[in-house]
Symmetry: C2
């Protein structure tokens, strides 16, 4: 273990993580899952595992490159599992880890709140705009 690794390991063990602290390691992880495509990919995978092309169709509007980057990041942070089956050609399937399921459940609840209240939200927006 290098000195830098040892130092970080000490910090991780002795300081409580806090997303409100500018340099906390938890903050970029939060940002990555909450990103536009991160959120939609996680909620889509909560329904069922998807292959790349199917996920891209579900997350309407995402480019191949952005979805690929998003999935790498989610896999690196342990929210998404990438399963490669040794078929010819190989079949690659993405699913949620336990950590991913926990987070995606809350995201789906947020998305549903917004979907269910969209008419009231539009009316709030118009009221706000009319007073400026």
């Amino acid at each position: 273990m290098s000195t830098a690794d040892q130092q970080e390991s000490d910090n991780v063990e002795t300081l409580a993580a806090d997303v409100f602290a500018r340099d906390c390691l938890s903050r970029p992880v939060l940002q990555s899952v909450m990103s536009r495509w991160g959120t939609l990919a996680l909620v889509a995978l909560l329904d069922e595992p998807h292959r790349f092309a199917a996920l891209r169709r579900r997350v309407d509007g995402v480019s191949e490159r952005m979805l690929s980057q998003t999935l790498h990041q989610l896999e690196r942070d342990g929210f998404v599992h990438r399963d490669v089956q040794a078929t010819i050609p190989p079949k690659v399937e993405y699913s949620l880890t336990a950590r991913g399921e926990e987070v995606a459940g809350h995201m789906r609840a947020i998305a549903e709140t917004i979907e269910n209240q969209i008419a009231e939200i539009r009316s709030d927006q118009k009221k706000y705009d009319s007073t400026r």
Copy 2:
């Protein structure tokens, strides 16, 4: 009501909102609350109402301009209430609406999951990096 407004009103009433649809009005609202500063502001306001300067100190690293933009957007979408008290000088306080509380509760749960698992997430990241 203009033809465009009437059209939109018909759509809002007849189509179910769906964040997965590229042009759905719910998608920009979701993106705005899930944004880096939107999330942290909402979770901070879940603890208690804040004045602008106190909120800026709590959301470590945000610029005055970004926090101001974020709060305007959250107020416009009906997640945050801006209360101006007629004191001299006027006292401005930000608090959550019922809609804001609902969403912020789920965001806090996501942040806590990440904070509590940060050591495992760091270890997953290192494992991932070592296989590339």
